[in-house]
């Protein structure tokens, strides 16, 4: 019999099928044309660092190994009043690599990342500013590849991948990044990317200054800034040849916390710029789908609670109406598998969505010459969603409460 839960399950299935088909079709239409810019303009690279003694040297080292002319790179490291040896590490790098122009700024107070990026933006005398995370490493060609795609656009984003893939969780995230890079490449063809990744993104300084720089009150400044740039009609592109490697959360709790911030940042940005949901541009359609998809975890939670309640209720009924007598139930316990009881309709929808996801992953892996392991892919499709769903639910909760924590 069709009940409310079935209708909700159908809603999730229909929405998921729509999204899967939508991106599948975008794949055929999107063309992210290669650019032919060969000039090497001066670039400023802004890095904000807080307690980054473990990775900052490696980050600067990656810039030092860039094929981009060192004379055209100015790195500004803003120390966010670190309590560890971050400053010492930067100074050690300066001493050991005098050819790379690295400026170290120290702050007396701990502030948000956007504040430091704005500080670097004000200082920047170059055409381009690259924002970089202190736990990320750029591939040797990364700067050149970003610059190559900068013609006529305000922002150029790279392909982001995890720096280490030893643990299962990191490998699963790697699949997600591969997926996400590929999607960004497709969306880039429609000028519809919604985020300029924090680990490494190139901005045209004049355009960024014209919108007042980064929003210091935003929890996801790399996303919010895109919304304001779009409002002014500025364009954005992905460079498929620019690679940056970043540290990814190593525990499920850290992953959930990170994703909660990203998703709450998205909801916050949408709330500040509601017109970004208008579907007459591809960017608007992306945001609308993204916002709509935030409903799915709510529905899944509701369904899970109902399912759990229905499963546990008989047990409570027994204790309540009969008393605690497990032996009788254990003695008469039986399992039977009846294939005819399977809901074939949902099996078909699940199969369709899994097939679309696998196909998309295959194309994405080919695009980035990566070969994810079958087991990791299985975990990605089967289990990873739960962590992301939890993060989305927490983000929605924070958003409703208006309580955003960095």
């Amino acid at each position: 019999m069709i009940d409310f839960l079935t209708i909700l399950a159908w809603f999730v299935a229909i929405l998921s099928i729509y999204v899967a088909s939508y991106y599948f079709l975008l794949y055929f239409d999107s063309v992210n044309e290669e650019q032919d810019r060969v000039s090497t303009p001066h670039v400023t690279i802004g890095i904000s660092a807080y307690n980054e003694e473990r990775g900052i040297y490696k980050t600067l080292q990656s810039l030092n190994e860039s094929i981009y002319p060192k004379s055209k790179i100015h790195v500004v490291v803003v120390d966010d009043k670190s309590k560890d040896n971050t400053i010492k590490e930067v100074k050690r790098f300066q001493k050991e690599h005098p050819k790379l122009d690295v400026t170290l700024l120290k702050n007396s107070r701990n502030k948000k990342k956007a504040y430091y990026l704005n500080k670097v933006l004000k200082m920047a005398k170059t055409d381009f500013l690259i924002t970089m995370d202190a736990d990320s490493q750029a591939a040797p060609k990364a700067i050149a590849s970003l610059v190559k795609y900068s013609k006529g656009v305000s922002v150029v984003t790279p392909c982001v991948l995890p720096s280490e893939k030893n643990k299962v969780l990191a490998r699963i995230q790697a699949i997600e990044y591969i997926y996400s890079n590929y999607l960004s490449n497709i969306l880039s063809g429609f000028d519809a990317q919604i985020v300029a990744p924090g680990p490494f993104s190139l901005f045209r300084v004049t355009d960024l200054k014209s919108i007042g720089g980064f929003d210091e009150k935003s929890i996801a400044e790399d996303l919010e800034v895109v919304f304001r740039l779009r409002k002014k009609g500025f364009k954005m592109r992905l460079s498929p040849t620019a690679y940056v490697y970043t540290d990814v959360p190593q525990t499920v709790t850290a992953l959930i916390r990170q994703r909660r911030r990203w998703k709450a940042g998205f909801l916050d940005a949408v709330q500040k710029h509601p017109k970004s949901l208008e579907p007459h541009t591809e960017f608007g359609r992306q945001n609308m789908l993204n916002a709509l998809y935030h409903l799915v975890p709510l529905i899944l939670l509701f369904m899970f609670i109902r399912f759990a309640y229905n499963s546990i209720k008989p047990l409570f009924d027994v204790i309540r109406y009969v008393g605690f007598d497990p032996w009788i139930y254990l003695r008469t316990l039986s399992f039977s598998v009846d294939l005819l009881a399977v809901d074939m309709q949902m099996v078909i929808y699940t199969f369709f969505m899994a097939a679309m996801t696998l196909m998309f992953l295959y194309l994405a892996s080919k695009f980035q010459n990566e070969r994810p392991k079958f087991f990791d892919t299985f975990l990605f499709i089967g289990i990873y969603g739960m962590a992301i769903t939890t993060a989305t639910l927490l983000a929605i909760y924070s958003w409703i409460k208006g309580d955003y924590v960095w």
């Binding site: 299935a13 099928i17 088909s21 009969v322 139930y329 074939m344 309709q345 078909i348």
Partner: protein
Amino acid sequence: MAGIITVIVFVSGFSVGMVWDQFRTQKLQSNLDEISVYSTSLFLESQLLEDLNCPAFLPVIQGAVNDIGTSLDEYTKYTEASVLGLDAQKILYRKYLLSNIRYWRLSDIYKKQCSWNVTSVLYFFDKSCQQKCDSMSTRLDYLKRKYGETLLIFPINLQFAADDPVALTLMRLYNVTSFPSVIIDGETYGNLGLDELEVLVCKGMTC
């Protein structure tokens, strides 16, 4: 275009779901037909023969009662996942119900003529009695697990059988006016506690 693909996939899934449902219904129907024929034949036999061959018939009827229990489980599982309308389910249920009542009558006949050590319980319930029916169902299920094949429970779900003349006649005959109600040894009882229910069940058989 994405919308069209979505509609195509959804309609395909729905159609396969419907076909699958039909297949399930047919399977359930053929099971019920088999049970129905079997119960009719046993019933006629019991009416025609003056002296029943008890040792030969008792295992047969015991097996048949188990089969109808399995059939009810299948019915419940299939209808939970079904997209079929309530009417189609009602018709299936009424088929099941008629066989169920026939077996209930048979169990009474065999009990009297063969001194069969069983107690049969006719259990009336519907959707409206929620918690009370939950408690009664849980207690009956517990006793069924406890006494196994010696306790025969014949449930009648009035949600599906409200229009069935046989169900209504039984209700009238046994003065069933509220739910849950159980008929044990020809007497009608309302919602009972576990101990009361167990005493009544054990009155008619060796516990």
